[in-house]
Symmetry: D3
Subunit: 322 residues, 6 copies
């Protein structure tokens, strides 16, 4: 039985600046019950090693998502006609105790999964992706370690920071590999760049099988060629998509904690996102939008548009399965 | 039978930056049904003669109101224990056709009044107050012309602008007097200042009996003395309170369309607002918060705090009546 | 008899930050009398459906145009040696009554045309282009419906907004086609992108014959190929050029009301503008520069540079005709 | 024979954001011919020891002065009915060679004086006041050394900076005393504050007879008492008024090169400026408005309002003499 | 034997914008060895319940402190002639693990105390004051529980947040009382304001004997009267001074995590700080300066000036003891 | 004997926001003694013809350089393992007297050269490069006139400004050619664009043999081809590299005095910088970073990254020589 669909508020009837601010101007609902995709915020940045602020990401991405409309201009996909989607609000995560926060995030996502909905979340710093992955993995351990498509300036596979802290936004994917949640041979990181701590910083990841595509390789090959490789790597098995906004150039996404010049243009990012169509995506997120460092809301707008592109990809997948 | 009360989200449990943004972190409800006070936004600035932007006021006042807590630190009033209050969202007002917009606002407020709730609104430019007054007046014509307590840098009693436009944010109170909605002898305007178009610009208002207290007179007398006069003028008859944020000094409320230096400090404004306790208030608003011209959200924060002060005054009155 | 030429103030003699601010530091003159090209501002944004502010566009484009010099660095064109150009100020347009404003704009442009000058205007929102086109069309109805080269993120051929408002910045070109001012088969829109309200949103325009070039097609083909098509479409017949600043990427033009990521780079925009040389241009504009949303004046600078490129194209045409 | 009067553009007819930007929306005229008061800009900051930017002051004060109207709301003075006033533009001053710049400023002011007009200038840094004073003094040496009323956070009577540079914005009044232009016994400096280089930093000035009123003394006595002393000191002899915007608190005038917390409120500043009425003022200026460090134009707005207050004081004097 | 004195760089010789940025342009030294007062930064905000960013406080206060000079303009105190003062850098505190961070801060301050220097620190959020107090108390337990003079908008004596987190920037002084570090009967909190969580929120503190002076009481009595009470309360016994920048009004100190309108003016704050002279101060701090939320550096400038005032008070005390 | 190497502070141990701010978090040392490369600031912008502010460049580039790590992610070069590098602070240059400032800069660089270190400086405006070149040339006149690789929007080979000022940031390379310091036939300027004062503005430079590569030629050919030409032009002879940040597009480097749209992307700039490897570089600089016009520090971040790229190129050269 098809689930009831939700429509966003129509900006041709009610101005974009009016009304409560929700993701995509969708209804705010209390839980993921009855949803195919639950959009939610994870306002937490306790794993941040430099400039905090991603805790404010969900609120501003909501605000800027009022600029989104209903149909994708290239693919023609109308996600709200295919999927039951709504805004289930923000997870309750306290900002003081890191380990407790990780549990709160995992529990929150577990409830989404328990309702049969796919979590599409807005961070938060990149450490939030670790408990999200844990919850998705636990919800259906049958599908084995997940694939990962990661758009990012940084590999985030370091071991520890500031002595022996194993949990920071620079370490989530190392932890996820160690915990057996991710399959490193089905992990691809695109857009990696910027000076590194040590010449062998990425060696551990490479040794596990992670495919690192530096921005220079990307620039040489272009989005189509790169995404063909990504699709081949992922195949039909379950994969998670994580989009760190710092993958995009700081001129287009200045509001982030660890900017690196020379990144993707938004046009390139959009081309890659559209290239995800057909993957078996079990969850996705946009992270590291940090409003205190944003300029005129441009990063939040970029984040909201990435969110819409992800939603359309999910809807494309659903159509294929329907 | 007492109406069910609503509680704001507690910032000691859920961080202020989390969750959907509503006025005072109160529940968002669909209508004024069951409410004593309905907080709502009027995102419209079509009457603005210079710098538009107050259309974005409700959204940012909502965001900054997340900094408010539950009990007034001076009076000890806990408004949510005395009044059923919630956020009923924004009125739907289109930004293109001025006359249609005035009708939409009046209709929206009429629905609030019809539920027996008192409207506490956030503008929007000052012209929004005219249709609000129309609706309140029509809802209970028995109480006759209303009194008005106006905190403002400008009298807003001009006749017309740009030729013969009778409806702008510089004219609402002239229209309301002409329409018999306001009783000019029970109107007081506090904080008026700034150069004027003509030496006799305020003569019409004075001729009707409006009491204009320039900022210089206010500075000489202080809040207590001025508010004693205000209370004497208003007596027990119904009065409306309108707070134009440009009454406050631009250093403390830069985000507004027509700033005038030399205004109230927020401390003075708060003292005056507390002096409203005991009046028979039938509605109130905060207007002219213009986020595109704001700096760091300080004007929206000031607006949110004024809103909380107004709510506590309404609650004080309710207690007196209870 | 050649008309007397005007020279901009020379920044190597008088610093750019000194003196009254005019377009290109040209003389401010009272009317279009004796001019080949009249640069003027249309400070009005009453057709804006979301974020107003383009009313402040002319002032800031004037300020930033102080950075322009006298000779085009690629084409070598020295426009002020070929054309009599000056700044005739802003049209007087009141911000309250939309229908009256449209008449004021049309009348103002009619006066420019009556002097035999070509109007080169700076908006204002995109609805300003409609009365400009009306005036140009009426001034010389003999040339029939005009061609249009439109650089833009949005087609602006919707039918109505907020119920039944036929005049907004999302509808001008539908109205102009309906009114017989534009020839849809000689209309080209370049850079269109962003999510749409409905899958068939552009169908009406396409049905009339409008050529819509999405940003993705543009990115594939490049400026040279696209402009060859544009020139073929326009031929020798009269054409109007309208440049909505939101055609450019928001990182390079953030100060606009309806930003869409993934737009033109300024380099691409400049290449296209230079590709206009040789067209029979009867008027041109730059619209939707919205200073309250701008960042460091970059959008106004981009707008000023577009204005200079347009002026050089006009001068190129003049030289060809001379 | 009375000189022809000029009227500012009326904001109730033409919106404030429209038209070329001039001081007070007055006509831009080519010279001081026929004027009682010539408002002009001095866009130069070559004497700045820390943060440059006052070179951009005139342009932004012009922009913000569009918020001024025609009649003073307290005194009822309508300056444009009493005085022929216009905007004569900016002096041409090059930014590279300090000594040449000082000569250019002096020459420019000399031309104003030669027309019989009183110069009311907008800086520029405080060193600009020195050549202004030189020109005024030379224009009518008969009146002897001038009195000075200086609103400022700093005494600006240091001897030299960075070795042996005698001309910086920290030294103009020492030079003017040494040159016999100012009478130190008729000099008063109000609002002085902030840490000092040395315990005896102000001793030289005090030894000459300069009256220094620190902000603490001002706060104790209030504007009325202080201005009574100022008027007594100045008497009927010619005096110059210089208003360094950094006299005002940085929360109300952040856009300046050397901010010091704890300054005047604008309300206090306005009270003092009104207390100048009756003095024999031979020239006045507002200096050190530095737009690159301003926030939302608030400092330029404050500067524009100070300019209007000064103009009304000049008009009050004229009325007394008429 | 007197300790060798350090001089700040002289801004009349080397411009303020030049050179490495240190507190007050003092030498950067490796440890507190040989110092009377060690100025240091504590770049940590892990106890923040809402908007993080105070971690960046030390860097920006350093930058803005380049505007300070050498002698106090009211008291004539020249601190660098009386005290050996230098900038010992920032404590190394990692941002991930709260409990480890508290230990790092305590250890760092302990090293300062072990050298016989008095710590004058710049936060960081207000929780940093707890480990500072622990270290000072342990360094000389003989002096018993300390007195506390706290300038603040908030009492910071709550019990816990987000469930059971005992350590946040809203709880440090409750913990310090419980630990016997502070003597609640010698604690005074000045400037408290803003809505509260519960009517009895401050009851625990009052029950212990803490003296809470709300902003309203302060406004009524003025700085002199309030500081007389403070001095009487403190007597000759050791006291710590903590200055939360949010005590100051948000118009003058917007860059902070939990702004409350209606606060101290800087002029009032300076008057109070000068009233501390003569107390037996064993340490002091300025906290909660949060640069990501600051505007034009004004909060950091205010923080730097408070730091200078505190230093002069310490120097005044030293002179009295010498 | 190898010189002792210096290591930057490790951000995985001490957070980036902590500690004194130095270039690359390297030690601050008192002189160039013992260094291979001395990084230094030249905080002076007295040659600026429009918007000053580059005097603040060194401080903000230092701040943003805290985001740099230790190893180049493409070349694998670890500069601190190959070269002795440190931050020797800023040259002492007074802002008032231009000719004295040029001498101070030349003297400061001469001292660096005298220690055998290569100067890598951060401006300051582009006129600072002239005295730097003078000092390098004098230090070793044996190598003859230097080659120059200039990344820039402007040729900076004009003759004079504002009458007869020969020294501005628009003239340094004309002066250097005239003085025999630069060999015009080994000079290449890349990225030149923007309208020009006169059609023959660049003729003098071309006549001397300077190779000007406009942005349009660059865009056509790409970084690899252009840099091959550059390397061929430079050969093995000594060359200086100057990077004017305005060569980069204003969306990526808005904080500069004379922005021109249509510039390099940072990705293109990085590709070119890496193409410098192998040249015989005798000095390098990054100039025209102007923090007062910057947005969110992005220009300073770009400047810091350019600095790191230059350092890696110098290290690459050193390795080749080792």
């Amino acid at each position: 039985m098809p689930r009831p669909l939700h429509e966003p508020v129509d900006a041709a009837l009610i101005p974009r600046f009016a009304g409560h601010s929700t993701f995509m101007r969708l209804p705010a609902v209390a839980s993921a019950e009855g949803l195919d995709v639950a959009i939610l915020g994870i306002p937490w940045d306790g794993g941040t090693t430099n400039r905090a602020g991603a805790r404010h990401g969900p609120r501003e991405v909501r605000n800027q998502s009022s600029l989104m409309r209903r149909v994708h201009h290239v693919t023609g996909i109308a996600p709200y006609e295919r999927l039951a989607v709504a805004d289930i609000g923000d997870l309750v995560v306290q900002p003081i105790d890191l380990m407790a926060a990780l549990r709160q995030i995992e529990d929150g996502i577990a409830q989404v999964c328990a309702k049969g909905a796919l979590p599409l979340s807005v961070g938060g710093d990149h450490l939030t992706t670790l408990p999200v992955l844990r919850a998705i993995h636990k919800a259906d351990p049958g599908h084995g370690p997940l694939g990962l498509v990661q758009f990012d300036a940084h590999s985030d596979t370091n071991d520890s920071y500031f002595g022996d802290n194993p949990y920071t936004h620079g370490t989530p994917f190392r932890r996820a590999i160690e915990e057996g949640i991710l399959d490193p041979r089905r992990m691809v990181q695109i857009g990696i760049r910027g000076s590194v701590y040590a010449a062998d910083e990425h060696q551990w990841a490479r040794d596990q099988g992670v495919r690192i595509i530096h921005i220079e390789e990307f620039a040489r090959r272009g989005p189509d060629d790169v995404m063909a490789e990504v699709r081949a790597l992922m195949g039909d098995a379950p994969a998670y998509v994580t989009f760190d906004i710092d993958g995009i150039d700081p001129s287009m996404a200045p509001g982030t904690g660890t900017p690196e010049i020379g990144g993707f243009t938004t046009r390139e990012a959009q081309a890659m996102l559209r290239g995800l169509a057909g993957l078996n995506i079990v969850g996705a997120d946009v992270v590291e939008v940090s409003p205190p460092f944003d300029i005129g809301g441009i990063t939040a707008l970029t984040g909201a548009t990435v969110l819409f592109e992800l939603l359309c990809v999910l809807a494309a997948g659903r159509a294929g399965q329907g």
